[in-house]
């Protein structure tokens, strides 16, 4: 264990991260065993399982889990593994299991809280110690589950902080996305885009608050939109797609002015003062609905908050003003599955959802030109890090004394402070359970 602690501590020095944090399989294994088990990780949204017995299968850390709506209407998160021989109890992504799960191998059945309901030919266990076996306990629940305004998070280890301590005021971004619904509710719409990246998950997470890349890496896509738009006849109505893509070509000054806010535990967001989502056209009827629901002042307060990307460490990103969510599922040191989800603002006009769906497919799809730009950079970096010519990655931009000293800090929008914030949290959550194990 001390070796592991030393290994992790050696991967950072001020403003620099060792490439092994991105490429080394042993570090990835430690991330799964420690970081992703000590943190609160996003599981899914309650609207994916509205009825009793509805389930959705996913992963937390490297663990196959499912979330299910129990008979008392609460959401439970269970390891997706039969206690008998290990068979995954469900293998489709979602469905309804009725009042109980039934393993397809030997028909052991379980209530939707995981407890064992029945085993066929039970008398075969009569003269055994079955009752005191771990199998008799049924499907193992993930011990710490929290539903926050229908967003479901889980923490596997006991060591990690409470939900409130982990997220602190960063929940204001989630609140803003939800409050944009006149009903104060969101619903997941459709399936997520699934995009396979041959790079480390942290590259994707870091890129969410990297404001010095859009005008460079996306010159090919957003820049082409700009070129074509500027060739249109004057007076042409600006199409929605142009409105969504053009802000990617904003100047460095724009992104500097946007601002970055960092919170404890690796959370942070771009777009404190304004963002690339600030100047979308009004959707007829929406403002009136918001004012009717919240009153004029509160509605304005909600809609004037146009945060860009909010990172919830370790692997979640949401965009409140456009209602998208991206989950960066770690598969291996050099493999990440990116899921991009969209939400309907309940009771809001369909035109908002149309804009959200368009944003998702033009930015986040494996068929998206913006996605192509980004993936190219991540994978070139993953390959480039193999170079022994230099072993360190630089994240020094706009470093200031005192970063991380306060629970919340605001900086120039082109700082890499949020990346440094993530790596402070990375070390903290990596070491948390190592130190516990080491001292016990």
């Amino acid at each position: 264990m001390n070796d592991q602690i030393a290994r992790i501590r050696a991967l950072q020095r001020p403003g620099e991260v060792h490439r092994d944090a991105y490429v080394a399989p042993d570090v990835f294994d430690m991330e799964m065993k420690h970081l992703f088990r000590n943190a609160w990780v996003y599981v899914g949204h309650a609207s994916q399982i509205p009825g009793k017995g509805d389930y959705y299968a996913t992963q937390v850390a490297d663990q196959p889990v499912l979330m299910v709506r129990h008979t008392d209407n609460s959401v439970r998160v269970l390891y997706n593994r039969c206690p008998h021989k290990g068979t995954q109890v469900v293998i489709d992504t979602q469905g309804n299991t009725g009042k109980f799960f039934r393993c397809p191998y030997h028909a052991w059945s379980f209530k939707t809280d995981g407890s064992l309901l029945a085993v066929p030919l039970k008398k075969g266990y009569q003269d055994t110690e079955f009752k005191s076996s771990c199998a008799a306990k049924g499907m193992t629940p993930v011990p710490h589950v929290r539903e926050y305004r229908e967003f479901i998070f889980a923490r596997i280890n006991d060591q990690g902080p409470s939900f409130e301590d982990f997220f602190g005021d960063s929940l204001s971004s989630l609140d803003n996305m939800i409050d944009r619904s006149p009903a104060g509710r969101l619903e997941v719409v459709g399936s997520p885009l699934r995009y396979a990246h041959n790079c480390n998950w942290k590259m994707l997470v870091e890129n969410q608050t990297d404001t010095c890349h859009p005008m460079v890496a996306h010159e090919s896509s957003a820049g082409t939109v700009k070129d074509i738009w500027e060739r249109q006849e004057e007076g042409t109505k600006k199409p929605m797609v142009v409105e969504l893509a053009l802000p990617f070509m904003s100047s460095y000054e724009f992104f500097e002015g946007m601002g970055i806010r960092i919170w404890d535990n690796g959370h942070g967001h771009t777009g404190v003062h304004h963002s690339i989502h600030s100047d979308y056209s009004d959707i007829p009827g929406y403002n009136d609905q918001m004012q009717a629901a919240y009153g004029k002042d509160r509605a304005a307060e909600i809609l004037n908050e146009n945060r860009h990307n909010t990172v919830y460490f370790p692997n979640l990103m949401i965009k409140g003003p456009i209602q998208t969510l991206r989950l960066f599922k770690p598969i291996a040191a050099d493999k990440t599955l990116v899921e991009s989800w969209i939400f309907r603002l309940v009771d809001a006009p369909d035109k908002l959802l149309e804009r959200t769906a368009m944003y998702n497919r033009i930015i986040n799809a494996p068929t998206s030109i913006v996605g192509h730009d980004d993936l190219e950079m991540y994978e070139r970096a993953q390959s480039g890090l193999a170079s022994d010519g230099m072993e360190w990655v630089n994240i020094q931009r706009l470093y200031e004394e005192g970063e991380g000293d306060e629970p919340e800090q605001i900086y120039n929008g082109t700082t890499e402070a949020q990346m440094r914030n993530q790596f402070r949290a990375w070390e903290k959550f990596m070491l948390m359970s190592m130190e516990k194990e080491g001292t016990s």
Binding site: S191, S221, I228, L375
Partner: protein, 159 residues
């Protein structure tokens, strides 16, 4: 122009060939001004607008793609991708001269390659064609992938 079944079939083959030969501006010109290219994300997806698709693009967005593919700073096309369509004989589903609606159905295999990586896709292309100024044009090309819900790597050209 009153297209025959053979004209429709020839059109579908010629369209795929233009993509395979990377003659993208000529390919783009096959679309009617209000033409759309749609690649659903979900199996049997019905909704084009209010749920996510892999692609759902009007001629303006297709033009962006075509120009981007040849761009100086299009790093994901250095080196350039190549692709190949293998089409089954297109089936003519509808010839309606009165309303100017022509529909075909074409099962395909598609390969796209860049560097050492090759992606193989299979699916069905449904063309809805119309006649504009005496020539067949695409009003809607719908491409359903058999594994539409799989995690994909980059798909950069046109299936």
């Amino acid at each position: 122009m009153t297209p025959t079944a053979q004209d429709l079939i020839d059109f579908v083959y010629a369209e795929a060939r233009l993509i395979d030969e990377r003659r993208f501006p000529e390919w783009l010109a096959l679309f009617a001004d209000d033409g759309m290219y749609w690649m659903p994300l979900e199996w049997n997806q019905q909704d084009q607008w209010l749920t996510t698709s892999l692609m759902h693009e009007d001629k303006l967005m297709l033009q962006v793609r075509v120009e981007r593919l040849e761009g100086e700073r299009t790093f994901s096309q250095k080196p350039k991708s190549r692709c190949q369509h293998l089409l089954q004989l297109p089936q003519v589903d509808e010839i309606d001269h009165e309303n100017g609606v022509y529909r075909t159905y074409t099962p395909f295999h598609y390969a796209e390659t860049r560097f050492d990586e090759q992606l193989i896709l299979a699916g069905w292309a449904r063309h809805q064609l119309c006649v504009v100024d005496g020539a067949l044009k695409i009003r809607m090309k719908r491409v359903d992938l058999v594994n539409c819900d799989a995690p994909f790597r980059n798909i950069q050209l046109f299936v």
